[in-house]
Subunit: 343 residues, 2 copies
């Protein structure tokens, strides 16, 4: 059954009039109107205020002909629900107050109600849904358990995941407790988002590419696949996102997701061969290509579309999120190019 | 023709009595005797003193039954030869004094003589060769042009290679000047090492996995392949190293190298399918697996050997270098396991 939204059609492999396009972190610092709000509010203040979150979510859709909005939120929001507090440090990124490097710190773990403690996300979704054209889709999202666990254990970003991997090898039972808690909370959080109006959900396993494939299957996949199973009961399509996972795309596809989001480190055609041509793919321009001069960027967009071969199941996106330095004129150019070249 | 060295045989795909094993950064901080020397000397002082460099190179071979020594040096050593000065900042890593972010900074670029300015590396190689058993091989190495250029432009480590990619897209002519200079200097540097006694050379393209495959072919591969062509004239085998390149192993193989060094993000068997079973492979244990309890680590070593299927062209190694936290007892265990399980 064909939807009004190009994006939702592509998620289901249903032909649309042209290839849909949206971008990760399309609401953000590269937009002047976002930076203006950030002068007055912190990121977490904006996320926790449904009116502000809805406004920020809609900002890029006023400027560009994007086919989807993604709710303005952060993958770390569910952490306090399980007893893990964090802040954002300007210029550094997230900082977990008491990282779970030591199994003795596990007494801080609890299991709260995402429906209650993250109700502001549901409210923001409802507000956006009311204000969004029906041919634009609204995407909800959550972080996948491995990626969240890596922040919880490392305390922030990591270069080599020393603490995370040492922990999962050394304390498999504690690892399971943490991953189970994250899995259950993530399922409830995504279901809340779907009930509130999310028309698709993306699971961000952003750092899972740090794992060897056999570790992926043992320490991450069982939890990810349960989340996809749980949301597949809804009528809403799901997107499975990872970076640096070119060596185990097959395993990621098996874990679930109606759409596989692939990064720029593999040609799209090669990814399709591995995943299977029946699976819709989202991707896969290098976010750094957005910094290139117009003529180079144009060639790169054409190359992605050529690799996609105008398949009905292609959603044009980057392989990861926008950088704050992304020039607005390039975003406009790419959105229009994708629509024009595929219609 | 069979060599006395297991490692050299494996490089040529000649059967040996068992699978050879060595590790990247096997000379380093995880060893007490190395840390003792570091109390008295800086890293660069040790590298520039042939006696000290030879001593550090040989330290791990006194402890473990390793099949190869790798000369104690750093991929950044040739930078001053082309006019780029740098220091190592304790706990931070390398710092380029005047990064080439701006094309106007190119006037600092020069083309010196690696034979003269890096003669201490040649001396250290000769000393090690004299002192090393003839059944142990001595490996020389250099950084590949893209990886070196990324340091030169970013000024140090990078998360997303914003400056490097922006530069190569925006200033293709300057990029070529830089890459040509690095290529010529690297060829002379490697040839000097071969003449001084290196019996194999490894080209470290450590960060090339940040590129999209089409960018790899355009901005990195032409220079790497020239280096491999230049050293293939010698009778010394070459190893092509990268990380995060599971999506373009085929292109890396075409660029050259008698042995492909593969990281842990892809099963070894799958890598062999892509590269071709006629090509020797080096790899591919996750360096972080060295932190695992003995029973887990053992299973992981067995899994790598099983994926390798006892092929004659397998060199056991990690997918990247040792971390300073690597327990010495685990290194000993892995070396002995590899030899015992494959003999």
């Amino acid at each position: 059954m064909s939807e009004k939204s190009r994006f939702l059609n592509a998620c289901k492999g249903v032909p649309a009039d042209c290839t849909p396009v949206w971008f990760m972190r399309q609401a953000g610092r590269y937009l002047e109107e976002y930076r203006k709000l950030r002068e007055k509010y912190s990121m977490l203040e904006m996320v926790r205020d449904p009116e502000l979150a809805a406004e920020v979510t809609l900002q890029p859709l006023r400027r560009f002909d994007l086919d989807a909005a993604i709710i303005f939120a952060d993958i770390l929001l569910p952490l306090p629900v399980i007893g893990i507090d964090f802040s954002f440090i300007e210029g550094t990124g997230p900082r977990i107050h008491k990282p779970l490097m030591d199994p003795r710190h596990f007494d801080q773990l609890r299991e709260g109600d995402p429906e209650q403690e993250l109700s502001f996300v549901a409210e923001a979704l409802s507000l956006v849904r009311e204000r969004l054209d029906e041919n634009r889709a609204l995407i909800g999202f959550a972080g996948a358990p491995f990626t969240l666990a890596s922040y919880i254990i490392e305390g922030g970003h990591s270069r080599n995941y020393l603490a995370t991997k040492s922990f999962m090898y050394s304390y498999p039972e504690k690892w399971e407790v943490l991953m189970e808690t994250l899995t259950r909370t993530t399922i409830r959080y995504l279901q809340m988002q779907i009930e509130a109006g999310a028309q698709a959900v993306q699971l961000f396993d952003s750092w899972v590419g740090a794992l060897a494939p056999e570790d992926y299957l043992k320490y991450a996949e069982p939890y990810t696949s349960r989340i996809f199973k749980a949301v597949s009961g809804s009528s809403v399509p799901s997107i499975h996102f990872g970076t640096g996972t070119s060596g185990f795309l097959k395993e990621m596809r098996s874990a679930g997701g109606d759409v596989q989001s692939v990064d720029w480190r593999i040609p799209l055609g090669r990814a399709w061969e591995i995943i299977g041509t029946d699976s819709p793919i989202q991707g896969n321009l290098d976010p750094l290509a957005m910094m290139a001069p117009a003529d180079i960027l144009k060639k790169k967009v054409e190359a992605v579309l050529e690799e996609a071969g105008n398949r009905k199941g292609h959603i044009f996106n980057l392989g990861h999120g926008f950088l704050p330095q992304t020039p607005v004129r390039n975003v406009e150019m790419v959105v229009n190019m994708v629509h024009e070249l595929t219609s």
